[in-house]
């Protein structure tokens, strides 16, 4: 197959040869590796890559991916990083409008009719910057003969991949892993991996988030070697019945090749095995729900985790060992429309959290995550909404371990296509009910679900942010309902389209609704619990009046609390050339126009992770419930 630039313009093409999304479990060669935490089946490709930058597709280096291409004019770039923060391209912060506003005329393909193809919209876009990445690698000796995949955990925004001159695949969806099979073209030595990253494609309409607009390989890249028999997907069911504190465990595995058996051990928090069994092809690698008797439930106060270990055995040899944490908890809405966790009313003392580092943009560090969790604990923050995209995988693991309730949001925001000058004007809205934009958003829902389904921390799926509502978002809702009855679904944008209210969202959600208006809803026999997926816009000197929201918790059982907007200012620290002082720069400070200036400075933390003065107020009110 040949790569086509036209895919950038076509919303029906969003993954080509990209492997299906699957659970994010780790796999190790043996027990020793597992205990050491270092899998020899994984090799990082982070580091210095050859790189060149082009202002648009027309001037990009074509065929740079060929093995013998002349790349003498290439420079280098660190992976992961943001291209803009390496000063190849202009930095820009813009909120609801698109970064091409006022520069390039665009409307989403098919938004103005079935014959409106918007051909060339992105493939010929004069603003569509291109990063060409090349990385050479040799295979570890003990990988020879194994299937090898490459996994990109985050690339904004559309990427083409070649290996040794052969086209491998194409992917969009910047915030979920893109995995490809390299095996057919793999050599033992001197492999040439080439990646072409376009800043814009039709995905840009779906990723119109309120943030600095970056591009590039901004998350980890890894090679994965697959043992001869490999669990490619793992689904854990861990229902909990609070009435009698009983837990159950169910498993469903997908294997690349049949094994002899998969040994299953579940250990309690003390490390004592409470279940030991094995699965085989005869039971289709499934463990039907198995009664475990009394278990300890997982919650914020006591994030009790059980340890599941799978050992895959083929021809009498261990192929891989898979660790998986299991948390038993039950989240539901009761018949009084009250949000319940493990039989008790659940109050969300939450924050929205963009991934942000004032030097690295969204290519944040593990240390940043640890620091954020520390801040959560110190200030009684018990929940996080992953606005407005899936986060780095480590964040979900950390939230499991630290008992942070997660609203796991899809990578979706099409704000600019339905809200103009503050008014609702959806004449060119996507995804809406357009058939051409159906599969791409379902794919995002599927990726989010398949990747993260085993994390006990996730209590709610969120369909996306500020994308209006139509049949396509209703079908995303249906996807989650079909695949995951154990969790609740949230979507705020349906508040503008009451005709979809029965088909979208288990919650009544209306961001920034003032306390008086929330009370009006709650006082009128609410049929859905109310959650503020964003409230308390903590821009600058703000966070006054949090007490009025707190009062709602005391007055109305159907009030769930909410997620403060937001956790950390998005600003970029530079050294001011005039004063020599460190300076936090925001939109417009890079000659970028149109810009929304300081509007991304809405954190309860400054961009350098120092708390704002309002934090003591958050800590106080969040400590009351």
């Amino acid at each position: 197959m040949e790569a086509s630039l036209k895919w950038l313009d076509d919303p029906t093409v969003f993954r080509v040869n990209q492997l299906p999304a699957h659970s994010d479990h780790q796999f190790f060669k043996n027990q020793e590796e597992l205990e050491a935490g270092q899998s020899s089946y994984v090799q990082s490709l982070n580091g210095t890559w050859d790189f060149t930058f082009a202002k648009n597709p027309q001037v990009r280096p074509v065929n740079f991916w060929e093995v013998d291409a002349d790349r003498s004019d290439f420079t280098t770039i660190e992976v992961p990083s943001e291209i803009e923060l390496q000063n190849f391209a202009q930095i820009n912060y813009i909120n609801t409008l698109n970064p091409w506003s006022g520069k390039v005329y665009r409307r989403p393909a098919y938004s103005l009719g079935d014959d409106y193809e918007a051909a060339g919209s992105f493939s010929e876009g004069i603003d569509n910057t291109v990063g060409a990445y090349v990385r050479k690698f040799d295979l570890p000796i003990d990988w020879q003969g194994l299937d090898v995949h490459v996994m990109f955990e985050g690339v904004e925004r559309a990427m083409y991949v070649w290996l040794n001159g052969h086209f491998i695949g194409y992917a969009e969806d910047s915030f979920t892993p893109s995995e490809f099979d390299l095996t057919p073209y793999l050599q033992n030595k001197n492999n040439v991996l080439a990646v072409e990253v376009f800043k814009h494609s039709t995905a840009s309409w779906l990723e119109d988030q309120d943030m600095f607009r970056f591009s590039g390989i901004f998350r980890d890249v890894s090679l994965l070697a697959l043992p001869a028999s490999h669990v490619v997907d793992l689904k854990v069911d861990a229902p909990y019945d609070p009435a009698n504190q009983q837990g159950q465990l169910g498993l469903a595995l997908q294997l690349t090749n049949d094994a002899d058996q998969v040994q299953v051990t579940l250990a309690d928090p003390d490390g004592e095995p409470i279940l030991e069994t094995s699965l085989t092809a005869n039971d289709q690698w499934q463990l039907p729900l198995h009664d475990l008797g009394m278990v300890q439930a997982w919650d914020n106060q006591q994030p009790v985790l059980y340890q599941l270990t799978l050992t895959v055995i083929k021809a009498g040899e261990v192929q891989e060992v898979i660790p998986q944490v299991v948390g038993f908890r039950q989240v539901m809405i009761n018949d009084q429309a009250v949000l319940m966790l493990n039989g008790h009313r659940l109050v969300i003392n939450g924050v929205n959290r963009h991934e942000w580092n004032c030097h690295r943009g969204r290519a944040i560090m593990y240390e940043d995550m640890l620091a954020d969790l520390q801040t959560f604990h110190e200030n009684n923050i018990n929940a996080v909404r992953t606005c407005h995209y899936p986060d780095q995988l480590a964040w979900y693991d950390l939230c499991d371990r630290h008992g942070i309730y997660m609203m796991a949001e899809n990578n979706l925001e099409s704000h600019g296509t339905w809200q103009k000058m503050g008014a609702i004007e959806p004449s060119d809205n996507v995804p809406g009910s357009l058939p051409q934009w159906h599969d791409v958003v379902i794919d995002r829902a599927r990726s989010n679900y398949e990747l993260l389904k085993n994390h006990p921390a996730i209590l709610f799926w969120s369909l996306g942010n500020e994308s209006y509502a139509g049949d396509n978002i209703a079908d995303m809702n249906a996807f989650y309902k079909e695949h995951d009855p154990s969790r609740l679904v949230h979507y705020e944008g349906v508040c503008h389209t009451p005709e979809y209210r029965d088909r979208i969202s288990d919650f009544e959600s209306w961001m920034y609704l003032p306390p008086t208006k929330v009370a009006e809803y709650l006082a009128n026999n609410p049929d859905k619990p109310f959650i503020e997926c964003e409230y308390m816009h903590s821009m600058g000197n703000s966070v006054g009046g949090l007490g009025s929201y707190n009062d709602l918790i005391d007055q109305y059982p159907q009030y769930c609390g909410g997620f403060i907007w937001d956790f950390i200012d998005q600003a970029i620290e530079v050294t001011d050339p005039v004063t020599g002082q460190k300076s936090m720069r925001y939109g417009g400070d890079f000659d970028d126009r149109h810009a929304d200036y300081e509007f991304a400075g809405d954190g309860i933390m400054f961009a350098n992770r120092q708390p704002k003065p309002a934090m003591q107020e958050v800590k106080y009110y969040y400590g009351l419930h």
Partner: protein
């Protein structure tokens, strides 16, 4: 001379001097306010204290256009013409300010037990209203300050009301008894009560400089400096001045900048180099709000009605 119950009073034709063993004050007639506050030989004022009405626009203020609706107070904060000065020495009320030839009768041994001088400032608003700032000084040098805002209908809501004292050099720090951290009327529930020591004059590094550093419900604040502008004073030992609440706790901020300076800067590093101390002692502070930053107002109970009187009072003790 026994200063125990009396202080020296120095009548002059453009000002009134008051002196005791540790203090020397000058109340200006031309300068229209307390133009010199010297304690132990060190000057504490750079310019006369002025009523203050403006806070540097917060993001929420901009969002709900409070800065536009109340823009008159920006000008009123900038200039406040004095329209009357009223002097009472002991029990004698002067119908007119004592200047020559009335002052020709006094000497360098003229004494008084207490002096009260009241300045009336006019706001440059439409309609106008007045603020009186009354200084009551007793022989030990204690100054009781009362600033009173005369409510007037049809004026836009106030951002703040208080008195702004600008000191000649930067404070090295301040100590206060009140609430922890930066607080506002609608954001003070999470604060702890106690005595707090602050190094320097921290400006909260909001992305765009704006109103910051307020401390609600304060019993007293002591400001400490180490330097003066006096070229003949090489002494760098710390000097402190205490401001104590009188009838009820006050709010204060102690910053290196006026609200105008904060208002003008788009970034922290655009703020001017630090030269002064700006101590604002406020009797009324508007809430900061927080529902959203694009229109939602501060909750009603945290507005400042300009039709009502507002007041702040405090004592300066040596």
């Amino acid at each position: 001379m026994d200063y125990t119950n009396q202080m020296q009073i120095i009548y002059d034709d453009g000002m009134l001097g008051l002196a005791g063993p540790r203090f020397h004050y000058i109340f200006g007639y031309e300068r229209a306010g307390l133009e010199s506050l010297v304690v132990d030989g060190k000057e504490w004022l750079y310019r006369v204290p002025q009523p203050t009405f403006w806070r540097a626009t917060t993001d929420n203020d901009r969002g709900n256009q409070f800065n536009i609706k109340s823009a008159q107070w920006l000008a009123a904060d900038y200039v406040a013409p004095c329209v009357d000065i009223d002097l009472t020495v002991d029990n004698h009320h002067y119908d007119q300010l004592p200047i020559a030839p009335v002052t020709n009768q006094f000497s360098n041994q003229t004494l008084a037990e207490q002096v009260e001088i009241k300045y009336t400032y006019q706001t440059v608003t439409i309609p106008q209203t007045t603020v009186t700032v009354t200084y009551h000084v007793v022989a030990d040098g204690t100054i009781t300050v009362r600033a009173h805002y005369q409510g007037k209908a049809n004026l836009p809501e106030l951002p703040v009301f208080g008195l702004r004292l600008i000191m000649p050099t930067p404070a090295t720090g301040y100590t206060y008894q009140g609430l922890s951290g930066e607080t506002y009327p609608d954001r003070m529930a999470g604060a702890t009560k106690g005595q707090f020591e602050v190094a320097g004059m921290p400006v909260t590094p909001y992305l765009v400089p704006q109103e910051c550093g307020m401390h609600m419900a304060t019993d007293w604040v002591t400001v400490t400096r180490a330097t003066t502008l006096n070229n003949a004073d090489p002494d760098l030992s710390p000097l402190s001045l205490k401001f104590s609440a009188l009838d009820k706790p006050f709010a204060f901020s102690c910053l290196p900048y006026t609200s105008s300076e904060l208002e003008n800067a788009t970034h922290q590093e655009k703020l001017p180099p630090i030269h002064r101390t700006v101590l604002t002692i406020a009797g009324a502070v508007r809430g900061v709000g927080g529902i959203d930053s694009w229109g939602a107002d501060v909750e009603p109970q945290y507005h400042l009605d300009a039709g009502q009187d507002h007041e702040v009072s405090f004592q300066i003790t040596l």
